[in-house]
């Protein structure tokens, strides 16, 4: 009996986009002001991992890094399915930039072991869409990122990547890093049974020391980028709102001409 595939899904706990998101005094995302949730775009990653597991057999582990409440994202993912979760939690991580985030996640992936790493296309807070490529670079494995369709077969992953100008089918031998878009299909809702089962699934917490990472390599002080200024944009003031009196189209045309937009 062959060993089951090891799939690790990287998930992120983010401030709910429906709330008033903002910044703490040190320029980092304020994670206390708004309720957090599993990044909506990571739900597609969870779904695809579970589908691959259902198709070819796999052990699905979720991985996150973040403060204590980030464990909620792991529980949400576990309630959808999967087997176990790993939470990298360390006070020194606060304010980590892309480089440090990818360093820590890559170290955690080396420790969990993996055949396939699945990520969402972007987080819904930072929205940089760069960590999956950074993981591939650090782990020195192929990336099949921004997949709108995903399949694992015969020890390789096939993905459809829809770029701005072309649609490509790519394939790579495992191990590999993939990220998936919302085109991969709706994510399942956790069932009551799933929610109950999730409570019993193991969540392991690792510190930086467990990963052999020096705290001076991560966090705000080590960041390769620094925020100089955060300015709340004055709520974009509504301009003129008019009721169409049979001349709505003409009014827009006149406005566009005035603004030199037409």
């Amino acid at each position: 009996m062959p060993e089951p595939l090891r799939i690790v899904v990287c998930v992120k706990h983010v401030p709910d986009a429906a709330g008033e998101r903002g910044f703490a005094a040190d320029g980092t995302t304020d994670r206390a002001a708004v309720d957090g949730r599993l990044s909506e775009l990571d739900e597609y990653a969870v779904e695809q991992a579970l589908q691959v597991a259902e198709a070819v057999g796999a052990r699905v582990t979720y991985l996150t890094m973040g403060p204590a409440q980030a464990a909620d994202a792991l529980r949400k993912a576990l309630s959808m399915g999967g087997d176990a979760a790993v939470h990298v939690q360390d006070d020194a991580l606060h304010g980590s930039d892309y480089l440090a985030t990818s360093l820590v996640l890559a170290a955690a992936l080396e420790r969990t072991g993996y055949d396939l790493v699945v990520c969402g296309m972007a987080s819904t807070d930072g929205a940089g869409s760069v960590v999956p490529a950074m993981l591939a670079e650090r782990l020195r494995v192929p990336q099949a990122t921004l997949a709108g369709e995903l399949a694992v077969e015969g020890g390789e992953v096939r993905a459809r990547r829809d770029g701005e100008l072309a649609s490509e089918v790519v394939r790579a031998p495992l191990p590999a890093v993939v990220s998936v878009t919302d085109q991969t299909g709706e994510a399942r809702y956790p069932s009551f049974k799933g929610i109950m089962a999730a409570k019993k699934k193991p969540v392991t917490t690792w510190s930086l020391a467990d990963l052999g990472i020096d705290p001076s390599q991560v966090g705000l002080a080590a960041a390769a980028t620094v925020v100089e200024e955060v300015v709340p944009r004055p709520a974009r003031t509504a301009g003129t709102v008019v009721r169409d009196e049979g001349d709505g189209g003409r009014r827009i045309a006149a406005f566009l001409a005035e603004q030199k937009l037409a």
Binding site: A17, R21, G22, F23, D97, Y98, S102, D125, A127, G128, S129, V130, A133, M134, E137, Q143, A144, T145, A159, R161, D162, G163, E164, L165, A166, S167, E168, V169, V170, R171, A172, A176, Q183, A224, T225, V226, E228, E229, V230, V231, R233, R236, G239, T240, V241, V242, R243, D244, G246, G248, G249, R250, R251, I252, A253, F255, L256, A257, L261, A262
Partner: protein, 324 residues
């Protein structure tokens, strides 16, 4: 003056405008304010591309040969950028566009160089301690100014962040060959160019006309297209319109679709849920037409018309077409 590298992409990229796409010309305009612009092209650029790059401010065009470029995903572009960075020494910055492949090449480059990566810039300005990157975050609720403090600043820039500038200069071509670095990459086994609609690409367009549920049916998009064509713009759609099957997902604007940042965003029958606003809020000018006076998009529109899109759009199209 320090070099500012601008990734132009594969030389064989299909381009209707004669060699170089508009986002790259925008990057060159930004690069000029930071230093001496140098374009980085994978493969051998056409004479037209070299001329266009020079005429828009590039003093050098680096033609970088990377094994397997075009057939291997993202890694070759990162290798090309790294090679040029090491060749020129200490460039002031590396600027890339926001398209997936360029963004991911920047990500890999930042890891290779241990350098600060800044994503989704809407402006890059010269500062006393290096380039200052302006970002619009949390659906446009905040403007953040940041800079890299380690390594060469690697900056991903959104389309329409600057206007292309014609300098009338010429560029010297320098060749560089990169040895196979053995970095494993996924292989492209099939490639299908997007069917051309004759309209500008959504994420690059300076005018976007978008339709939503308020159109009432898929046929309503004919009106949206007519207005878009009169303005030389791209057509976008809200998630609701895409979910209803009225328009292809490739044209969806919003958090789970594409982010656009045009000079003009004209929304027809879109109420403007937060997820939609996340994808278009940095648009310079916003015009909204909706039957519902409570539509949230009116809160951020420069001009809002409360009315039926099926009456307002045809009149608008006629007016625009008459003005030619």
């Amino acid at each position: 003056m320090s070099d500012v590298l601008v990734l132009v992409g594969p030389a064989d990229h299909p381009d209707p405008a004669g060699g170089v796409r508009k986002p790259a010309l925008e990057l060159l305009a930004l690069a000029r304010s930071l230093g001496d612009p140098a374009a980085v092209v994978l493969g051998t650029p056409s004479p037209e591309a070299v001329e266009a790059l020079g005429a828009h401010g590039a003093t050098t065009v680096w033609a970088v040969q990377v094994p397997g470029a075009g057939e291997r995903v993202v890694a070759p572009a990162a290798a090309a950028l790294e090679a040029v960075v090491r060749e020129v020494g200490e460039p002031a910055a590396v600027l890339v566009g926001a398209a997936h492949d360029a963004r991911e090449a920047a990500a890999r480059l930042a890891v290779r160089l241990g350098a600060g990566l800044l994503t989704d810039a809407v402006d890059v300005q010269a500062g006393p301690e290096g380039p200052v990157v302006v970002q619009s975050v949390f659906a446009g609720a905040y403007v953040v100014r940041s800079r890299a403090v380690r390594g060469v600043p690697v900056v991903v820039v959104k389309p329409n962040s600057a206007a292309p500038e014609r300098t009338g200069g010429t560029a010297a071509v320098r060749e560089l060959a990169v040895a196979d670095d053995g970095v494993p990459a996924a292989a492209v086994v099939e490639r299908r160019e997007r069917a051309g609609t004759g309209r500008p690409e959504l994420t690059e367009a300076s005018v976007v006309v978008a339709g939503g549920r308020g159109l009432g049916s898929g046929e309503g998009f004919a009106l949206v297209e007519r207005v878009a064509d009169a303005l030389g713009g791209a057509v976008g759609a809200s998630r609701a319109a895409v979910d209803a099957g009225w328009y292809p997902h490739s044209q969806q604007v919003g958090q789970t679709g594409k982010t656009v940042s045009p000079q003009l965003y004209l929304a027809a029958g879109i109420s403007g849920a937060i997820q939609h606003r996340a994808g278009m809020q940095t648009s310079r000018t916003i015009v909204a037409v909706n039957k519902d006076p409570e539509a949230p998009l009116f809160e951020i529109a420069d001009l809002g018309v409360v009315g039926d899109v099926n009456e307002v759009l045809p009149q608008l199209a006629e007016e625009l077409e008459a003005r030619g």
